[in-house]
Symmetry: C2
């Protein structure tokens, strides 16, 4: 299980490269497999099932492993964070030898372009209610807002899910100042990268899509010299 | 600002290597600077101020940058997560050109060795009350427990701070079953690495020290074939 990081080869560590080069089969979405095709040895087989087929991808990779083959199941970001490791490990038994190669997640990639918003306690929440009831997500946003976490919002908005980010913003504004810094990063470390700094009062959900990560500061987060900074301490 | 990841060269991405190789001065704790000395070009100056001197390290690096030099300020893990980026950016002005190179954090490194505990919504909390009042930390643990986040606990215990992890466990047990899976990882990807899987009822704080990360599962986290797995969905 190999996480490819945000999108730039320069953020793929050697451990991931070794795992890819050692694989006889690579399974993953087409855009990820295309990105790392040049890191594979010649003769490596590729399997690119369609979007949304997580269980099928996991099953195909596990079948190859069970038959004695060496297979890389690839994800963007970190394989263990909202990615392929969980569906695969739900299906894997003790008969399959699994190595998980960690990678740079979307929140870290976005954070590094904004400054250091994740310098103190923080949480990651997916706003997608496809597999998780909205009431669970809503209560997580509320809890994180009340307890003054920095929030990284994954899957903040898509064509079919256009109201969740607005709702999350409302909940956050019940507990946090409209001046709270918010970072909006699209396509981090890829062509067309966009990095914007705004605040909770000015955040416009319609500027956000499914390729974007939104990072909402805590009460301590500041903008210094155009960078979003969450101090490590409370100055006590 | 360069994050070196958990400890193994194989998890340092090319972008970090390029930044290190381009530096005229490297500033960081001795154990980190020693680890990456072979990645530096000859003639690179080294500065290894003592532990606890975050502000001094940041100031030294910024002074070099302001004088026109190229300097790497190194941290373990991700430079932006409980590391050197925040103290440095609090002091940097617009006159300093800063690049933050993200790295694999301790929580991700630990997670990858345990399975996929961070497969769904999760938070990171430092249990160190040196710079943050305990009441803030306690309320974050409580909020995360109530809202069913997976928790990564950084700085869980040290010689001088020996009761916070026990308190956090008590708060978690108010909201979560004693059967909840807990992963305890020490020295991830380093010599002497230790990976243990236990549960909230059996977790013994005295087995944990400051080189350890503790990952507490959500209500959905399971152990499958010896691996800690948080499913991506709620099965709805």
């Amino acid at each position: 299980m190999v996480g490819l990081g945000p999108g730039d080869d320069a953020l793929i560590p050697p451990l991931a490269r070794e795992a890819l080069a050692a694989s006889e089969l690579v399974v993953g979405l087409e855009q990820y497999v295309e990105r790392i095709r040049h890191l594979l040895r010649s003769g490596t087989r590729l399997s690119v099932p369609p979007l949304g087929s997580e269980v099928e991808r996991a099953k195909e990779a596990l079948a190859e492993a069970r038959s004695g083959g060496s297979v890389a199941l690839v994800s963007s970001g970190d394989a263990g964070v909202y990615a392929m490791a969980s569906p695969a490990l739900e299906l894997a038994g003790e008969d399959v030898d699994v190595v998980i190669v960690p990678g740079i997640t979307a929140a870290q990639a976005a954070a590094s372009l904004l400054g250091s918003p994740l310098g103190h306690d923080h949480c990651s929440i997916s706003l997608s209610d496809l597999l998780t009831p909205w009431v669970v997500i809503r209560e997580r946003v509320r809890a994180a807002a009340e307890a003054d976490f920095v929030l990284s919002l994954y899957n903040p908005r898509s064509k079919g899910r256009d109201w969740q980010l607005g709702k999350a913003r409302e909940i956050l504004l019940d507990h946090r100042s409209p001046d709270t810094p918010v970072g909006v990063v699209r396509d981090a470390y890829r062509a067309g990268q966009r990095v914007a700094l705004t605040d909770l009062g000015s955040l416009r959900p319609e500027d956000v899509d499914m390729l974007t990560v939104v990072i909402v500061g805590s009460s301590q987060t500041e903008v210094r010299a155009g960078r979003m900074v969450t101090p490590r301490g409370y100055g006590v």
